[in-house]
């Protein structure tokens, strides 16, 4: 099975540069938000990785679940747009893309 801790280390190593790139003026707050989101998502992702390894779900189902987590983040961002506070949420959305891409890539490699 894919090494779950390695997946998260890969994701976390990408957070710093992303914070600088996307949210220079709010880098500290943005990174905190991103890490808070990761912590929140970690339990879900860990569970899905384990279910995939145990063959309780297949790869298509795993991908749908990860995409649904990304959709949730995007919808939270849209709620913030509705309320008029956007920038931090834009950052969170981009961090979610990293989570999805890194996790799916690591799992796919782990399966081959």
């Amino acid at each position: 099975m894919a090494d779950f801790n390695q997946i998260f280390n890969d994701i976390k190593s990408q957070l710093g540069p992303l914070a600088e790139q996307n949210l220079k003026q709010f880098a500290a707050q943005g990174k905190q938000d991103a890490e808070a989101f990761l912590e929140q998502s970690k339990a879900n992702l860990q569970k899905w990785v384990q279910q995939l390894a145990n063959k309780e779900i297949d790869e298509a189902e795993f991908r749908w679940l990860v995409e649904s987590q990304k959709a949730a983040a995007e919808m939270v961002a849209l709620r913030a747009v509705n309320a008029g506070t956007l920038q931090t949420e834009q950052f969170r959305d981009s961090v979610l893309s990293v989570v999805v891409n890194t996790a799916v890539s690591a799992i796919t490699k782990g399966q081959t």
Binding site: A72, R79, N82
Partner: protein, 147 residues
Amino acid sequence: MRPLRNVCVVLACASLLLGQFGCGTTGSLLSSTQFSDSAYNTDKRLKTDSLALIDQAKNKAPYNSVAEDVNGLMNKIDETIATEQKRTKNAPTVAQWKKIKAQLTSLFNMWKTKGTLSPAFADDARTQVSSLFDILINTENDKRAGS
């Protein structure tokens, strides 16, 4: 005095026009549409309908047994998106509905292709879909503050 009066009138008109335009632009960027009881209730009803369908997947129901209900649900979602698009300053909610539609379409297509879904997946998918609808419902609820 007349030229001065004319200048004052021109300045006053310009100020009114620019002020109105400026406020309108700022308003369209910052404010959202007003709360709608009807939209709020529709959101909750379609959440219940969606979760009821996914509950059937948990029992390994074949897609064929729910296909008609899936079509009915997706038609209602299309109608809801059309209704939401008619509300002014409502782009975030329309975008949220499109995301929910995309996730449900993907879920139902997978169910159709595979015939049945894994019970463990159906369980988690139900939780995820429920969360998506909760964000949508909370967004509508936020609009009470501006109503």
